[in-house]
């Protein structure tokens, strides 16, 4: 059978495909020499990740609400996650803290914590999903971001909203997500002020993004049309990170 097909086999480029697959496998299995880190490979993978950003923006449903849950399902305290351990959290002083505003915003006067506490609050009991795979149900309250933007005269047609944090973390979300009805500037968890490890005095909480997009210890919000990489996207995690 082999002999009969020899001529055919030699011309078939399927063999090359197979050889390619085996080489790819061998390369990937070499420990300590991850092919993902090779510049052309990483460039290609990031290009696909950017393509996936566009796909996610397309399938995003601006008014579709995430499932909400009963208060009895709320986990207390919430689960900690950051790019450092919980012992290394540097508490923010709520008395001197101010929320700065930057970029395409008409009224850039900073806000004190007391001023923010006086704004109307919205409560959402939603599922937090981490990119690692774990999840929990949390009860968050604070001003709705869209209402806050309307109040400060933010340009709602801008593309991005950046959150600059006290721990030098930066995250950004697309404007459609910022304007989603379940996107809030959370100041409370389970009806108590958010504690230090979870972003006191103010953090972002949106029902449509993975955990890492929900910036904690926010100290400035910037509305802009300019894209810059964020803490995790710079390291190769997907930027849009929608759920």
């Amino acid at each position: 059978m082999l002999a009969a097909n020899r001529e055919l086999i030699e011309t078939i480029n399927r063999r090359n495909v197979l050889r390619g697959a085996i080489s790819l496998g061998a390369l990937t299995l070499l420990t300590g020499c991850d092919v993902s880190e090779e510049e052309p490979v990483q460039k290609a993978l990031r290009a696909v990740s950017s393509w996936n950003d566009r796909v996610q923006a397309t399938i995003f449903r601006p008014d579709h609400l995430a499932p909400t849950f009963d208060v009895s399902q709320v986990v207390r305290p919430p689960r900690f996650n950051a790019h450092f351990d919980i012992e290394d959290v540097k508490p923010v002083d709520g008395a001197t803290w101010k929320l700065e505003l930057a970029g395409l915003v008409a009224d850039k006067r900073p806000w004190t914590a007391q001023q923010i506490y006086q704004l109307p609050e919205q409560e959402i009991i939603i599922r937090h999903i981490c990119v690692e795979g774990w999840d929990y149900i949390g009860q968050w309250s604070g001003p709705n971001l869209r209402s806050f933007f309307e109040r400060i005269g933010a340009d709602l047609s801008a593309k991005y909203v950046y959150f600059h944090c006290a721990d030098d973390y930066t995250e950004s979300i697309d404007m459609a997500t910022a304007l989603h009805p379940q996107t809030i500037l959370a100041t409370r968890y389970a009806n108590e002020a958010i504690t230090d490890p979870f972003g006191f005095p103010l953090r972002l909480r949106t029902s449509t993004k993975l955990g890492y997009k929900n910036a904690k210890w926010v100290k400035a919000i910037e509305v802009t049309n300019t894209f810059t990489e964020t803490f995790w996207s710079e390291q190769g995690f997907n930027w849009f990170a929608g759920i």
Partner: protein
């Protein structure tokens, strides 16, 4: 199509194991670094969300081809219990015939049909995992988020088990590999249709 799928499956399983390791479902199960794709979590994720396009696009093309050419109907059906018992009995007595590679026995039919359905389920559960809010109606069919993860994991396990048997048997019947590399034996099935007249075994 088969080899494109093989590459996609290889990428999806290796990177999926990397992603799994970040938050294991079973405390006793961690995949060793030597068998996962991606040294860091973000690389595993990048590969997974790249491989998904190959797997899904190739899979959709395969299903469309199988249905349009009636290949599935001819190759995978009908599945009769009697034939199934006969095949199992033949296999146990080492009398399984491989003379006609174009004809699937009852066990093959069930396994191939089953793995196609598992392939569809792993995509659906993957979609629900990726977008549990945008596709919340789909995610709700599974129950909790962790249930979706478990279903996705079990589908992977089924595919790995299938692959072990699939590869072992292909190696035991070397002429099937030759057929796969060359585009398949010339089909003399009756009745001969246009689709069957072209080499298709590697599809």
């Amino acid at each position: 199509m088969h080899w494109t799928n093989a590459i996609a499956i290889f990428i999806m399983i290796g990177s999926g194991w990397k992603i799994y390791n970040d938050d294991v479902i079973f405390g006793w199960l961690h995949f060793p670094d030597a068998v996962v794709i991606g040294k860091w979590a973000q690389y595993g994720l990048q590969w997974h969300f790249f491989g998904m396009w190959i797997f899904v696009l190739n899979g959709v093309a395969y299903l469309a081809y199988g249905i349009a050419t009636r290949r599935f109907r001819q190759k995978l059906f009908p599945i009769s219990i009697r034939e199934l018992l006969a095949t199992v009995s033949d296999a146990l007595r080492f009398k399984l015939g491989h003379d006609d590679l174009t004809h699937y026995n009852a066990v093959q039919k069930i396994l191939y049909l089953g793995i196609i359905l598992i392939g569809i389920l792993i995509v659906i559960s993957g979609l629900a995992l990726w977008k549990p809010v945008q596709f919340s109606e789909l995610a709700a069919l599974f129950g909790s988020f962790q249930t979706i993860r478990l279903v996705h994991f079990l589908c992977m396990s089924a595919i790995v088990l299938f692959l072990l048997v699939h590869i072992a048997l292909a190696l035991l019947v070397p002429q099937s590999l030759v057929a796969m590399l060359t585009g398949g034996p010339v089909v003399r099935d009756e009745p001969m249709s246009v689709a069957d007249a072209t080499p298709t075994s590697s599809g």
